[in-house]
Amino acid sequence: MKYALLLSALTAAVPLTQPADAHAFLDHAVPAVGSTVAAAPAQIDMFFTQDLEPAFTGASLADANGQPIATGAAAVDPQNKAELVLKVPRLAPGHYKVSWHVVSVDTHRTEGSFGFDIQR
C-alpha cells in the first residue's frame, strides 16, 4: 500500500517537471465562441493552451451556408506563439463558422470549429 502511494506520488510529479508541450486546445477566441457581436471584426484571434507550430497551423472562415470566405492566411503571432490570427474581409451581418487546425510545438495535432454572429 505504501509503495503504491509512493509510486503514484512520483508519477504525479512527472508532469510538473516537463516542459509545457502537449495537445493544444482552444482556450478562448475573439469574437468569443458562440457569441453575437455588434460590429464586424477585422480579424479573428484564437488563443490556445500551447505554443503552435506555424507551418502546420491554419484556419478558415465560412458563411451560414457553408460557403468559404476568402481571408488572409492564418498566422501565428510572433509575439505570442499560442495565438492564431485570421484576418478577414469586411463581413456583412450574419452567421459565420471558423474552422481551425493546429499542431502544437511537440507535434500533437488538434482541430476544431466554432461559430459567431454579427448583429443585423
Binding site: A22, H23, V33, Q50, A55, T107
Partner: protein
C-alpha cells in the same frame, strides 16, 4: 517573387520531417476529445497509464467487502495498433471469515483502430483481451484458474454534427463496448464457466466541447475541463448457468487536464445479484504521449 517561391519551397522542405511525425493518439475524432473512461474500455489506441485506480466496491451479494488498487497501461506499437496490460491488488473480506489480500488475474489486450471519422466524430476499435489463468490468488481471492479470451468492439460517437438548432446537445457523446467471453475451461472446482456477453456504455457531456466549439459561457478552471458522465456495464451469461445479468451504474465526473485526468464515480449495483449499497472509484490517469512526446509517448514503430 521568384525568391518568395523558393523561400516557400525551402520552408516546406524543411518542415517535411515534422509533417511526417505529427502525432495523433489520444481519444480524438475531429473536434471531439474522448476522455479515458473509468469503467468501460476506451475506443482508441493510446499511450496512457491509469496509476492507480482505487475502488471501494459495493457490498457483494454474499456480504463480502472488497477494496482494489489497479494499474492499467496502454501502449501503441504503431499509430493504429496497441497493447494493454492490467493488474490489480485486492483486499477481500468475506462475510464471517478473515480477510485475504493479493494480486488478481493479469489481463492483456491487443487493439486495432478500425476507423476514425473526424466529420462525424465517430471512432471504432477492435480488441482481443485475454485474462490469464493462475496469475492471481485463485483460492483466496477468486482469481481465475482458467484463461478467458474476449474479442470485442469499442466505439465512440460525438454529437457535434447535430443541427445548429440544438447547440446545447452537441457536447454529448457516447462510447460503448461489446464483447464476448470464451473461457478455456467449461468448469472450475465443479462450478460452470459460462460464455458471457459483456456490454457497457458511457454517456458524456463535455464542458470543454461546450466552451471551445459551441458557446463560451465563461467557465474558468477547473470547470472548463470537466466532463460529467454516467457509465453502465453489464455481463450476461449465455450458457451453462441460469444466473442473471450483473452490472453497475456509475455516475461521476472527469477533470481532463493537459497531461493527466482525474476521475471519480459512485458505484451503484444494477440489481441484487450485483451487490448491495454503494461503492466508489477514484482514478488518476496520465497521458504518456503528452508527458513524454519524444520517447515512450510515441508508437514503437512508424509515426
Amino acid at each position: 517573387m521568384r525568391f518568395a517561391r523558393f523561400a516557400a519551397a525551402a520552408a516546406a522542405c524543411a518542415a517535411l520531417p515534422l509533417l511526417s511525425s505529427v502525432a495523433a493518439a489520444h481519444g480524438f475524432a475531429g473536434d471531439r476529445f474522448f476522455p479515458a473512461t473509468l469503467l468501460t474500455d476506451d475506443p482508441f489506441v493510446a499511450d496512457e497509464i491509469s496509476l492507480p485506480t482505487i475502488t471501494r466496491n459495493p457490498t457483494g451479494p454474499d456480504g463480502s467487502q472488497e477494496f482494489d488498487l489497479d494499474i492499467d497501461l496502454a501502449k501503441r506499437l504503431t499509430p493504429d495498433l496497441g497493447v494493454t496490460i492490467s493488474q490489480g491488488w485486492h483486499y477481500l473480506q468475506p462475510k464471517g471469515t478473515g480477510a485475504a489480500t493479493g494480486l488478481g488475474g493479469l489481463e492483456t489486450g491487443l487493439q486495432y483502430q478500425l476507423f476514425v471519422d473526424p466529420k462525424h466524430e465517430t471512432i471504432g476499435l477492435a480488441n482481443l483481451s485475454v485474462s490469464w489463468a493462475h496469475t492471481g490468488r485463485v483460492q483466496a481471492l477468486g482469481a481465475d484458474d482458467f484463461t478467458t479470451i474476449s474479442p470485442g468492439f469499442d466505439f465512440g460517437k460525438g454529437f457535434g454534427d447535430l443541427p445548429d438548432s440544438v447547440p446545447w446537445l452537441k457536447p454529448f457523446a457516447i462510447t460503448g463496448n461489446l464483447s464476448m467471453d470464451f473461457p478455456t475451461k467449461t468448469e472450475s472446482a465443479g462450478n460452470p464457466n459460462p460464455n458471457n456477453f459483456n456490454y457497457g456504455f458511457a454517456f458524456e457531456y463535455s464542458l470543454p466541447y461546450l466552451q471551445q466549439q459551441v458557446k463560451d459561457i465563461g467557465l474558468g478552471e477547473p470547470f472548463n475541463r470537466l466532463i460529467p458522465l454516467v457509465e453502465v456495464a453489464f455481463s450476461t451469461p449465455v450458457n451453462r448457468v441460469s444466473s442473471q445479468t450483473v452490472g453497475t451504474i456509475q455516475p461521476g465526473i472527469i477533470w481532463a487536464g493537459q497531461y493527466m485526468q482525474v476521475g471519480a464515480e459512485a458505484i451503484i449495483p444494477a440489481n441484487r445479484q450485483s451487490g448491495h449499497g454503494f461503492g466508489g472509484l477514484l482514478q488518476f490517469h496520465f497521458y504518456l504521449d503528452d508527458i513524454f512526446p519524444n520517447s515512450i509517448g510515441r508508437p514503437l514503430f512508424g509515426n
